[in-house]
Amino acid sequence: MLKKKLSNCFKEHRCSLELSEWIISVARKISHSQKYKHIKHSVKDILDNPLNPWKKYFDITIIFIILSSVFILIYEVKHPLPVWMDFYDIYIVSLIFLIEYILRLWVYSDMARDLVDEYEKSHFLGRRFRLWSALSRGLKKKLEFMVTPATIIDLLAILPAYRPLRVLRIFVLFRFLKLLRYTRSINQFVEVLSNKKFELLTLLFLLIFIMMTGAIAIYVLEDTHNPNINNMFDALYWSLVTISTVGYGDISPVTEMGRVISMIIILFGIAMISFATSVIVSAFSEKLHKLKEERIIDDINKSEEFLIICGYGQMTKMFFRHSDASRYRYIILDKNPKRVEEAIKDGYDAIEDDASRYETLSRFNTENSKVTVLCMTHDDVENIYITLNAKHISPKIKVVVRAGDESIVNKYKRAGADHVLLPNETASTMMSVAITRPTMYKAIDAILTGKNKAILDEVLIHGYSNLIGKYIKDIEFRHFKLVLIGIQKNSDMEFIFNPSPDILIEHKDILLIMGDKRSIQYFKEVNCKDKC
């Protein structure tokens, strides 16, 4: 409605002050509406954000529509088209594409906001507000979007719906090109090639130059002698077929001079093809590394829960040596290419990146996955920076950080770290215990390092557990070779250390037990009804 009114207004070439006031008030209303913002944001998210869970289905739908449309084009060549198919192709497919095009145009920029901004600016500067210049500024942005190759393809893909012009049918092929937007591998291919734009363009110009030279030469030399070369187009066709080393042989030189020209441009052709191949191959080998990294990140972003481990040092290595390590989805980030190489050699997924940069961490799916960042670098300053960076991107990210010494723990807490590890302090304490109380040391060490004989584990009393309704005294922990350390009651979430034998075990309580890994496993299995 807004746009219609505007166009009417411009036709009259007289934009009254009231009209511009009215437009501004509408624009203001729109840009202040939360609902509008919300809708626009979710549409944009589905169209553009690969992390949006609905985008997958949207993409699949569009790809199906594209393929069906192309299938109809091919089918049509030999068979008469059923009415419903024709209807589907003309109206439904085109309509969907048109809607998609309009939506993309809509979400690309915020016209209402632009208008309001422009109005406020002129108001502030005490300048007369010119509706036309403000509008043209907003439209310019839309136009910017419309001339991008992908958008042009989108537009051309709608055209075949116009039936009177049969030639437009061929634009169905542009629907095929629309796949570019929806398939990642083709996208990456184009991206890689666009990095070598300069080399490829140079090559193309060289090719055109040699092709033209060859064509002109053969045309001049053989036009009168060769019955197959009648015009310049024939000469160009021959030249390209020869230079590309395809050589159909439908047109071939008949004079000596013509053959000499052929020989020369064949040599050029071979040189050029090998040059082109090497440019493309090198483009890929340069980018292969990056592409692989992107794949790793995309993969991990799909998982519900994963770890981002910053720094591949002794601590990280130790972490991976633990028997539990294989259960995690993780990615290692390190600034140092040598350490990344080492991690990859050791068989871990690692990429070279600086976790303290916003761009690095924001690549991860922090909205929809449960992310834990482990800051394991040796440098406290860097760890703090990573902690702040992670918490800034999303407070939902859990941060476990390694601190150099105790004096800095407060800083980490203020930065938002959820857990602070103090390996140096812990080791010093353990050393004192080892000297003064060697017996106790063995017990503590086994428990704290999680040695198989003394693992602390939690047993969640789930719905199928046999333990529901039993009292603690009813369970023969001694028989299971386990020690009950405590219980967390679901009712008040309170942890009871060394619980009384008269405590009743209920659904969703958690038992904290200690024992050998095998005993714990057995205990969990036995206390399960058949269902689990």
Partner: protein
């Protein structure tokens, strides 16, 4: 022979670990000797108020011999340089073959090297922290429970208790004792009849307690103290 706490300790290195260890030991152990080869660290130790500090060339065996350590003294090797630590352990093992040697290692490779060189106990800097991360990720209650021990305001503690002669625990089987009544949890023990190794209660072997055994319990400080007093008694007269 049961390992018991040393009364005399010789610490090599007053660097990033040495300082912390010395400070936490100074209340428990009367006889601490600090040895440094670095003059800055040596001065720092003097400044911190330790008088028993020696500045020697630790790579020289003759100088190590001059220390004249007692038979029951423990050596702690915590020089800042890993290579030097391995070297000192090796030298000490040849000069004082009977003494206990402890060391801190900050990498997997260093751990095995220190052990090969003859260290009796090597504390891995990262083993505990690495396990803690796994606990943080999977076992929130176990994490909170273990963090309770580090927290000063929390009064849960580990305690090792020596069973004296004439204690009421003497001659009793483990299953006969109801530790819950004393508010403590029994974790394990060193049984003098079976030698020097620590046996976890969860290993499931039946044991008889004798005087001279050492047991390890966890519990609240007050309960542990009461229990410690109680096992000195000949007969149990604990109110039920």
């Amino acid at each position: 022979m049961i390992e018991s706490g040393s009364r005399s300790v010789i610490i090599f290195g007053y660097g990033k670990f040495g300082r912390n260890i010395t400070l936490s030991l100074k209340d428990d152990i009367e006889n601490i000797l600090l040895i440094e080869s670095n003059r800055d660290n040596y001065n720092k130790a003097l400044q911190d108020g330790f008088t028993n500090v020696k500045l020697i060339d630790v790579t020289d065996d003759n100088q190590l011999e001059k220390i004249q350590a007692d038979k029951d003294a423990s050596f702690v090797c915590v020089m800042d340089d890993d290579h030097l630590n391995v070297f000192i352990v090796l030298s000490l093992k040849s000069v004082y073959p009977d003494n206990r040697i402890l060391a801190i290692s900050d990498s997997i490779h260093a751990t095995s090297k220190l052990k090969m060189a003859g260290a009796d106990k090597v504390i891995d800097l990262y083993a505990i922290s690495a396990n803690r991360i796994h606990n943080i990720l999977n076992k929130p209650i176990a994490t909170r429970f273990l963090e309770g021990f580090a927290d000063k305001s929390h009064d849960l503690a580990f305690r090792e208790l020596h069973i004296p002669k004439g204690s009421f625990l003497h001659g009793k089987k483990l299953e006969e004792i109801d530790f819950y009544r004393y508010g403590v949890i029994f974790l394990g023990m060193i049984d003098t009849e079976l030698g020097n190794s620590f046996i976890f209660v969860t290993s499931g072997v039946e044991h008889k307690l004798d005087s001279g055994d050492i047991i390890v319990c966890i519990g609240h400080e007050s309960d542990l103290k009461r229990f410690e007093k109680l096992i000195l008694e000949e007969r149990e007269d604990y109110p039920i």
